[in-house]
C-alpha cells in the first residue's frame, strides 16, 4: 500500500532535513500477534496501515526513531503512557507531557503529526508566551481529547 506518494516522501525528506534539530522517538502501540492467530477482542484492522505509515515516515530522517510496543503484553509502558486503544502513537515532551494519536494518522492527522515532530525536535512552542506561562501553573491533571476525521 502506498500511503505516502513518492513525491510527498521526497518533499517530507527535504523538510525533515531542513527543520529537524534534535532526535525524536515515536512510540507505536499495536498488536504484534501473528495475523493467523488473532484472538477475539484483540483485532486491530488498521494497525498494519499505521505501522507502514510510521515506518515510511521515520525512515525519511536519521533523527526519527520508531519504537513498537505490543498493547497486550507491554503493559507497563502502555499504562505509563495512558494508551487505551490501538493503533496509538505517543510522543513525549521534555517536561513529561504526552501527545497521543489514536487511529491511522492520515490526512489532517498526518499533517498534525509532522508538525508535532518538528515542534518537538526544534523545541519551539507554537503557543504565545503568556499562554505557556499560565500552562506551567496547571496543578491538576488535564486530559484534552480532539476528535477529527482524516479529511
Amino acid at each position: 500500500m502506498n500511503l505516502i506518494s513518492q513525491q510527498n516522501r521526497a518533499d517530507l525528506k527535504r523538510r525533515f532535513r531542513k527543520e529537524l534539530k534534535r532526535d525524536v522517538t515515536l512510540k507505536f502501540f499495536t498488536t504484534t500477534t501473528s495475523s493467523a492467530l488473532v484472538l477475539p477482542g484483540r483485532e486491530c484492522p488498521t494497525c498494519p496501515q499505521a505501522q507502514e505509515l510510521l515506518e515510511v515516515t521515520t525512515g525519511l530522517s536519521p533523527k526519527l526513531h520508531l519504537e513498537t510496543y505490543d498493547y497486550f503484553s507491554d503493559i507497563e509502558e502502555r499504562d505509563r503512557c495512558g494508551v487505551e486503544r490501538i493503533p496509538a502513537i505517543v510522543l513525549e515532551t521534555e517536561r513529561g507531557g504526552i501527545m497521543k494519536y489514536y487511529g491511522v494518522p492520515a490526512g489532517y492527522e498526518f499533517a498534525l503529526l509532522v508538525q508535532d515532530i518538528i515542534t518537538l525536535s526544534r523545541k519551539v512552542s507554537p503557543l504565545m508566551v503568556p499562554t505557556r506561562r499560565s500552562l506551567r501553573t496547571v496543578n491538576r491533571p488535564v486530559h484534552i481529547q480532539v476528535f477529527v476525521t482524516p479529511d
Partner: protein, 73 residues
Amino acid sequence: MAHGMTLENKLITADVVEVREFPNMARQYNVSSVPQTVINQMIEFTGAIPEDQFLEKVMQVGYEDPEAAQNGV
C-alpha cells in the same frame, strides 16, 4: 494547539482521535461535527477557537488556587 499545550506541563495530556476508526467514542462523546474538543470529560466545544479562550477552558479544570483549596473555598 492541544498538543502544543503538552509541551509546558507533565499534567497535560492531549489525544487526537480519528473518529471513523473509533465510532464507539464518537457515540460516547456525541461527536456530530469535527474537530470536537473535550477537556476532562467536562468541557466541550466544536471547531477552532482562539488560543486565549482555549487556555481559559484548560485553566478552568487544570488550576486550583492552593489557598482557596486550603480554605475550602
